[in-house]
């Protein structure tokens, strides 16, 4: 409904002016990597406007004697952090005066399961992470507003003006840049692939790739701040980051050259992928090959071993999460045995929600939403490289990296598997709890039934 492009009159009347503006201010600087400078002021102005809008809404709400529906980002109940099953049961034993860590069943043990269950019913950690993050201030986008009754005429007018600007000016500009960028990229990448000399080809292809990503970032008005650039990934390892949107790859690749991993698609995306791989060694898999874990691991290992090839960019969560937390990392990439360069990406939700809720929007709808937001503002932190320690297995290593990323990005570190978004009941978690409890009751040495997993 909001996706009808408002084709401006100026477009048809002043094509020369249009093209000059777009090329002069956006494309040419992007091609050559020149900064465009007004971003700070743009953000400042927008932020003060958003504060004004929320003030208006509060005033209106007071007028009507309503309470403004504010989303509590922290939840309904106080949760004890990191309380494991073992700790809770021990707590229970202590309170009944059992001196030894008696491995026996108590009727009261049911309380522990009961309370956890109630906490999950009242306030569930997991599903909250899969819907878009709620904001404190309204940013003039209908998608983040839930107080439709508290809109005054002034506010309505400014919202409408915002719509005109976003869909009438910003969206067409951005779409032009994106299309030009992709076209240039595909053509140049194919051409570069014809260069016989490897060193020269790598050099030029790097430049071409960076240009392509820069154009994409400009087409979304991406305002990215990179921190700790001295930790940038090197050619001997893989780069892992938390996943919020398909744009994550572009955000990272804007600053450094990576080799991407993924499934080969059809259509436009497939065309781009095939063009990319002509000039730089990306790892694309056919659909059937994706299931073969050993093949995937082997190709990754071979790539990493070659020091002329760029670091591989991997998103171990496996799916998009809403950027308030980091979910379980799949251990596959951590089994390769090379250096891992973690990176944390945190989006600022005030300017536009970057999270791709794939159950709500398709990719095209998502990109249109992105291009009609005010801006995509994010921070990227490069973390120091990490290696697997002696005696650590892949899962523990993965968790260690995940914790580092979560700590840096200010995200909550969760043990949940992001795949829960799609599947319904995961019996393995239940089994895990049962295992833990049986160990408490029977003691580790009596633990006889060892399930084959």
């Amino acid at each position: 409904m909001e996706h009808r492009l408002i084709i401006c009159h100026p477009l048809s009347l002043f094509p020369d002016v249009w093209l000059t503006l777009v090329f002069g201010f956006l494309i040419v600087p992007a091609v050559f990597g020149l900064p465009f400078g007004i971003h700070k002021y743009y953000m400042k102005i927008l932020l003060s406007i958003f504060e004004w809008t929320t003030l208006q809404m509060e005033l209106k709400a007071k007028e009507k004697n309503h309470q403004l529906y504010k989303h509590y980002t922290s939840g309904i109940i106080v949760k004890v952090p990191d309380s494991t099953l073992k700790q809770e049961i021990q707590d229970l034993r202590h309170s009944t005066g059992c001196l030894s860590l008696d491995t026996r069943f108590e009727l009261a043990d049911v309380f522990v399961f009961c309370r956890k269950a109630l906490e999950n019913i009242i306030d569930d950690d997991v599903t909250k992470r899969f819907s878009a993050q709620k904001l404190e201030n309204w940013n003039l986008l209908t998608r983040s507003n839930h107080n439709f009754r508290c809109i005054s005429l002034k506010l309505l007018a400014s919202w409408f003006l915002g719509v005109l600007i976003r869909y009438g000016v910003l969206l067409p500009f951005r779409a032009t840049v994106a299309v030009t960028g992709i076209f240039l990229f595909v053509v140049l990448s194919t051409v570069v692939g014809l260069i016989p000399c490897t060193k020269l080809r790598t050099y030029v292809s790097d430049k071409v790739h960076l240009m392509g990503y820069r154009l994409c970032v400009r087409s979304l008005t991406g305002i990215i701040t990179y921190h700790n650039r001295e930790n940038k990934p090197k050619n001997d390892g893989i780069c892992v980051a938390n996943h919020t949107t398909p744009i994550d790859g572009i955000i990272l690749a804007n600053d450094h050259c990576y080799s991407l991993v993924g499934q080969l698609h059809g259509g436009l995306l497939g065309l781009i992928q095939r063009a990319m791989v002509k000039s730089s060694p990306h790892i694309w898999f056919e659909r059937a090959e994706v299931k073969d874990r050993r093949l995937v691991a082997k190709r990754l290992r071979d790539h990493v071993a070659d020091e002329n090839k760029h670091p591989v960019l991997i998103f171990p969560e496996g799916t998009c999460v809403n950027n308030t937390s980091v979910m379980m990392f799949r251990k596959g990439s951590f089994e390769i045995g090379c250096t891992v360069y973690p990176a944390a990406i945190k989006y600022d939700p005030r300017f536009g929600d970057a999270f791709w809720n794939s159950s709500k929007f398709g990719l095209v709808g998502y990109l249109l939403r992105m291009m009609s937001s005010w801006a995509i503002v994010c921070s990227v932190w490069y973390l120091p490289p990490m290696n697997k320690k002696e005696g650590e297995d892949a899962t523990q290593f993965a968790n260690r990296v995940k914790a580092a990323i979560a700590a840096q990005g200010g995200l909550v570190d969760l043990i949940w598997d992001a795949g829960l978004k799609r599947t319904k009941v995961k019996d393995t978690f239940k089994e895990e709890q049962q295992q833990l409890y049986s160990k408490i009751l029977l003691g580790d040495h009596e633990y006889q039934n060892h399930p084959e997993s």
Partner: protein, 192 residues
């Protein structure tokens, strides 16, 4: 807050629930939002699937979900939902009440009764050996053998069963949990 109370109009039985359960208006509103979130198809009531989806990792998930539903009923509406949750409010200390006032949902006795009924599925007032075995099996899954399960159940009954009828009635249950800090273990702290 005055404005909270006016928004309570949207909540079914809002005013009555306020008095009955002791939840504040703000918490009641939040619980209503949560209820609406769980009620994915906007039916106005929840079915067991809606609640079970939240408890996939809890071995006793199905049993606890069952506690929300009256015997024979397949749906739970918002007032019933909140009445069950009211059991988990922290107990108020030093609260004097007149003789006619009904016992509050979050009293120690009511919390114990809730836990007792988790065991006593057929509601005959006693936890039989079979019922105890069922609960244990849920909590332990396939991690223990049948013999281990039997011995655990046997020991638990022996300790609690005072009148030697091979079952645990509510008084025996209460007695065996005398020393447990029920309020701490069976309460959820709501953010006001």
């Amino acid at each position: 807050m005055g404005s909270s109370r006016s928004s309570l109009r949207r909540v079914p039985d809002g005013q009555q629930l306020l008095q009955e359960t002791g939840f504040s208006a703000a918490v009641l509103l939040r619980l209503h939002q949560r209820f609406q979130f769980l009620d994915k198809d906007s039916r106005g009531h929840l079915r067991s699937e809606d609640l079970e989806a939240e408890l996939s990792e809890n071995p006793m998930g199905d049993r606890i979900v069952g506690a929300f539903f009256q015997p024979g009923q397949e749906t739970v509406d918002f007032p019933s939902f909140v009445r069950v949750l009211a059991h988990f409010r922290p107990t108020e200390k030093n609260r004097t009440r007149g003789g006619e006032q009904p016992e509050p949902a979050n009293s120690r006795n009511r919390k114990l009764k809730f836990a007792f009924q988790l065991y006593d599925r057929d509601r005959d007032g006693k936890i039989s050996r079979t019922e105890l075995l069922q609960v244990l099996r849920e909590m332990l899954g396939l991690q223990v053998t049948e013999e281990q399960l039997q011995s655990i159940a046997e020991r638990a009954i022996q300790e609690a069963d005072l009148d030697r009828d091979h079952a645990i009635c509510f008084d025996e249950f209460r007695k065996s949990l005398e020393k447990v800090n029920i309020d701490h273990k069976m309460s959820v702290r709501f953010l006001e």
